[in-house]
């Protein structure tokens, strides 16, 4: 119910936060929304020695279109993303379904991305649309493609002295559509199974780019490259999407657990992939 003792420092700039993080090492955690970290600390699954609170750093709540990407700063809350006019497709579709409405007021997209929970939603969305994570350390900034950033269960590519300052989500160049279909037992539960589908169409209506990623059915959020490859260059069709659904069902590694059998979860992946791709295509076609 109550966390162990820790030291608390409120940073007022990114440089200060980074310096404090570098000084503290592995047992120092960044505290933004805290909606993943604090629950773990309350049941003592995590007991960091120091927390660096970044909630007072100005400018980190940015949500802004810049060139070909959508910048989402480290303090942009899920609710801010959901309310923003600047989102699109799969991002817009997923945002309202993160956690519950009160947690969305506090938790951040970047925090969720950094947390790398395979049952978390955002990393599937970003794997489908494409994104880069901007990490700042004592030696400066670097950009990490989302596929490289998500390394394992609760494991990201950050060094101990780095923090995420923003995520840059690739904005589609052409006609596009995207949908996030999430099966959850109730609002606030993690996804039992979820599918993020993102399609960009050529002028002739064939698929130029396809992004398909799955939540809660593998050790990390899973980009289904095999299925994506079968979609590129093809005209959207029911059969095409059903075949992609079959590949996605085969590619994932769900487990039997209290949310359901693995066999059934593959069926949901199969079904949701088909439905999500069809909805994404319809969106892209302006229907």
């Amino acid at each position: 119910m109550f966390p162990s003792r820790f030291d608390f420092l409120a940073a007022h700039s990114v440089d200060e936060a980074v310096a404090l993080k570098a000084e503290g090492g592995g047992d120092t955690r960044i505290l933004a929304g805290g909606q993943s970290l604090l629950p773990m600390m309350k049941i003592r699954l995590a007991s960091p020695e120091k927390l660096i609170d970044i909630n007072n750093i100005a400018g980190l709540d940015v949500i802004q279109r810049h060139d070909s990407y959508l910048r989402v700063g480290a303090l942009a809350r899920h609710a801010d993303v959901a309310a923003s006019d600047l989102t699109f497709g799969v991002v817009e579709s997923a945002a309202p379904w993160i956690a519950d409405p009160i947690v969305r007021n506090r938790g951040t997209l970047c925090g969720s991305v950094a947390h790398c929970d395979p049952e978390g939603d955002w990393n599937s969305v970003l794997l489908a649309s494409g994104a880069d994570v901007i990490a700042r350390g004592p030696n400066g900034e670097r950009s990490i493609a989302i596929g490289d950033f998500v390394q394992g269960i609760f494991t990201n590519a950050l060094e101990d002295d780095e923090m995420v300052t923003e995520v840059r989500i690739h904005v589609p160049a052409s006609r596009s559509g995207g949908v996030y279909l999430k099966l959850e037992r109730k609002i606030g539960d993690y996804a039992t199974v979820a599918v993020a589908a993102h399609l960009e169409l050529h002028g002739d209506g064939t698929i130029g780019k396809a992004g398909l990623a799955l939540t809660s059915v593998a050790p990390t959020n899973l980009k289904v490259g095999t299925a994506e490859a079968t979609l590129v260059g093809q005209a959207p069709s029911e059969d095409l999407f059903a075949a992609a659904g079959e590949l996605a069902a085969q590619a994932c590694e769900p487990r039997d657990d209290v949310r359901g059998t693995a066999h059934w979860k593959r069926q949901v992946v199969r079904t949701f992939t088909r439905r999500a791709l069809a909805a994404a295509a319809a969106q892209a076609q302006g229907k």
Partner: protein
């Protein structure tokens, strides 16, 4: 009649008015007085160390590091409790239960030690410093496993206990039932498990024990649905003199049966307060509440109906095995080992039945009777309504028609059931007909047919339940020997205002309003002039408390009776003031008049004043009385619920499209409050049918011990309900009311499950156990296709 029309004007607010609740004033301003809101000077905080494993011998406990932590006052272990004879305590079912482990752990989450500290954060820190050496033993996780020959003995400390069986019990006539089965055209059977769930009120359980040896007073603030019974039991178990023991049950954030048992934490906190001479507060966390306090259900049931080919039920046979956890601790009337489960014959007319019950110990928390179960009528009602639905499919008869064919008819009341219940009143056919008409049943069946042709799965589920509440008559019912009367004490002050004190205890049911309405009805004192008090054993008459929907049937009757006692005295005083004969005095809406001269009146307020200032010669001054009501029978509310669902054939996900719920609880004191109770109960039924359960893995780890795993639906998942009512009064209740608190939780799960099964019935699917999870639904569809 469909509703109770009020006979008093709104200013008086008697029966039938949807009076807005008096108690709301403090709750809407955040001024409720819940247990954790209370602080006492010098108060210490207790935290409990709980076993991480389900079955293990404890070799040693080293609390030295914990005791040394700054802020820790004491660490209590089983050994210390044993020195005071408190390591074990009696249960309400005649068993014993460990307070703190002295020999072995018998369920995951069991209480092993307690830390008393100056601050709850420090108490939690200290828990991590206690070292316990466990020798893990093989756990028993199902009652079937428990009863296998050679199964490890869970209650090895109990003298004479040679296996894991807890009880056997039966009701009805086996020979006659067997004979009826032998004659039957067909036997329809159903095996189903009603899974373990948990009442989980939003406020967890807690205590502040303040035992003061200087004043000799022990004041126990306790989340208690039955403060008087708790006081007597505390006095007996802890050896505290009962006159100096005061239990105060404050505002309760829900109960649903969770606040009826006496928990080890209560005993440890009380002992700690006695030893340390400081108030000791213990408020459990949600995880503690779910893993260790009184769970609900966990009945494995097999039901068989003997039927004719035309669809008439001849007999019912039921065999049931219950999972009782590690200690048999149910609060239920002592004559019955399975509560009122033997009311399983349901709403149908047939002459014979036999119900055979047994229970087993397992390595799980104790409990079973809880979560608005009406003493196991949730289980009984679920079985019969699922069985009746199954019979309809097997005979090729529409499920509604099957019920109409077999209903107990209105003229058969009072109805003597084959297992000894006497149903007081009802009109089942009218109720079901109304519910079916409201939902458009025939049109829905046509739509279902069309949908099937398109490959869509629509299902219509019916449940018609009969409850048995208001325990109960002293000839049959007692808990730990205490008869199940209840009480009301009423005093009217000189200014005509009144105070009503009750032996029951609200946890959200609105007693401060509804019981005042009974007084308003009987005496014509405006409802806002009646203050209702409950929960403080020094200031209320003795009662058995609020659970099993008994407050209105028993304490409500007591309230009516005590009001009538005062009405009788009032008439004599009025006669004195009006210079007439008492026999000529009439009371109407708070005014006394002489029959035949309606203009010659005196108010109840004037009479109240006279009771203190101007009594007739020879009459005792004052204006108060008490009534202890021993009900002559239970009351039998009932209802017809109809649910429409659509099932997604590709994923097994199902959604409620509509639900119509008709309830008949006799006279409704406050229709608004009755509807609120029904909304809540339907939601609990929906939860259990769709997502809410506690299960265990093979190692005895509890899955469902926090709100991430034990699922309570939000407003987004919860269906919308359309409520209807009929109101056939209870003939034996002073105001004709039956009580309704648990009806919807009892009746609705079968309606939801019947709906999903109905959606798949044409594929040959007959049963899916609760919770009806989407993977189970999809698997049933796949299996049927194969």
């Amino acid at each position: 009649m469909t509703t109770t029309a009020p006979t008093t004007p709104p200013e008086i607010g008697g029966i039938g008015h949807s009076v807005r609740r008096h108690e709301d004033a403090r709750f809407i301003e955040g001024q409720g007085n819940y247990l954790d809101d209370i602080t006492l000077p010098g108060m210490l905080h207790m935290a409990i160390l709980r076993a991480p494993v389900a079955h293990a011998r404890i070799n040693s406990i080293d609390a030295s590091a914990a005791t040394a932590l700054e802020g820790v006052i004491a660490v209590v272990t089983g050994d210390l409790m044993a020195q005071h004879g408190l390591a074990w305590m009696p249960t309400l079912s005649g068993d014993t239960q460990a307070v703190l482990v002295t020999d072995k752990v018998r369920y995951q989450g069991q209480e092993v030690a307690a830390v008393i500290a100056t601050d709850p954060y420090i108490a939690t820190d200290a828990l991590e410093l206690i070292e316990v050496d466990y020798d893990i033993l093989p756990p028993i996780t199902t009652p079937q496993q428990a009863l296998e020959p050679g199964a490890p003995l869970i209650r090895d400390e109990k003298e004479g206990q040679t296996d894991n069986r807890v009880y056997t019990w039966e009701a009805g006539d086996k020979a006659a039932t067997d004979a009826a089965f032998a004659r039957a055209d067909r036997v329809v059977s159903l095996e189903t498990h009603y899974p373990r769930s948990h009442p989980s009120p939003l406020e967890t359980c807690g205590i502040i024990a303040d035992v003061n040896s200087v004043t000799g007073q022990a004041t126990i603030h306790l989340t208690s649905q039955a403060p008087h019974a708790h006081r007597t039991l505390f006095a007996m178990v802890a050896g505290l003199p009962e006159q100096d023991l005061r239990i105060i049950s404050p505002d309760l954030g829900g109960g649903f049966g969770n606040k009826v048992p006496i928990y080890p934490g209560y005993v440890v906190a009380t002992a700690a307060s006695l030893l340390l001479q400081h108030p000791v507060k213990w408020v459990e966390s949600r995880s503690e509440n779910l893993i260790s306090t009184g769970f609900a259900r966990d009945y494995y049931m097999k039901g068989e109906l003997a039927v004719t080919n035309e669809g008439k039920i001849l007999a019912l046979r039921v065999d049931m095995l219950s999972d009782q956890g590690a200690f048999y601790a149910d609060a239920q009337p002592t004559k019955f080992r399975a509560g009122l489960f033997h009311v399983v014959t349901g709403s149908y007319d047939y002459p014979v039945a036999h119900v055979s019950c047994s229970g087993a110990y397992t390595n799980k928390a104790p409990g079973g009777v809880a979560y608005r179960c009406s003493f196991r009528i949730t289980e009984a009602s679920f079985l019969i309504e699922r069985l009746v639905q199954t019979a309809a499919y097997e005979l090729g008869i529409d499920p509604a028609d099957f019920r109409f064919k077999n209903f107990i008819q209105p003229e058969q009341f009072p109805y003597h059931s084959p297992t000894g219940f006497v149903y007081d009143s009802g009109d089942y056919p009218t109720a079901l007909r109304m519910a079916l008409d409201e939902i458009g049943y025939e049109d829905l069946r046509a739509e279902q047919k069309r949908a099937r042709e398109e490959g869509r799965l629509i299902g219509i589920g019916i449940a018609h339940f009969t409850e048995a509440v208001g325990a109960g008559p002293s000839h049959t019912y007692d808990i730990a020997g205490l008869k199940m009367f209840d009480s009301a004490e009423l005093r009217v002050h000189p200014t005509g205002k009144a105070i009503l004190k009750l032996g029951v205890k609200s946890q959200g049911q609105g007693h401060e309003t509804t019981f005042a309405q009974i007084v308003a009805e009987e005496l014509g004192i405006p409802v806002t002039d009646v203050k209702v008090m409950e929960g403080d054993t020094d200031n209320t008459p003795y009662g058995l408390g609020t659970y099993a929907s008994r407050s209105t049937p028993v304490a409500g009757a007591a309230t009516a009776m005590v009001s009538r006692k005062l009405a009788e005295k009032a008439k004599i005083i009025a006669a004195h003031l009006l210079e007439a004969a008492p026999a000529d005095i009439e009371l109407h809406n708070g005014e006394f008049s002489v029959s035949g001269s309606p203009d010659h009146t005196v108010t109840i307020q004037a009479v109240a004043l006279a009771a203190y200032t101007n009594c007739p010669d020879g009459m005792e001054y004052g204006f108060e009385s008490v009534h202890y009501y021993d009900p002559p029978n239970l009351t039998y509310p009932y209802g017809s619920y109809v649910v429409v669902v659509e099932v997604d054939a590709d994923t097994g996900v199902w959604k409620v499209q509509r639900m119509v719920a008709l309830d008949d609880c006799g006279v409704r004191i406050n229709p608004m409050i009755v509807e609120g109770q029904i909304h809540g109960g339907l939601t609990e039924g929906f939860a259990m049918s769709s997502m809410q359960w506690i299960t265990f893995d093979d190692d005895g780890n509890c899955i469902g011990s926090n709100f991430m795993d034990y699922l309570v639906p939000t407003a987004w998942e919860t269906p919308k309900y359309e409520l209807l009512s009929t109101a056939v009064p209870s003939p034996h209740h002073p105001i004709g009311a039956k009580g309704v608190g648990e009806s919807a939780t009892v009746g609705s799960p079968a309606a939801f499950v019947n709906a999903v099964v109905d959606a798949l019935a044409h594929l040959g699917v007959r049963n899916i156990d609760m919770p009806v999870l989407p993977d189970r639904v999809w698997a049933a569809i796949e299996a049927a296709k194969a």
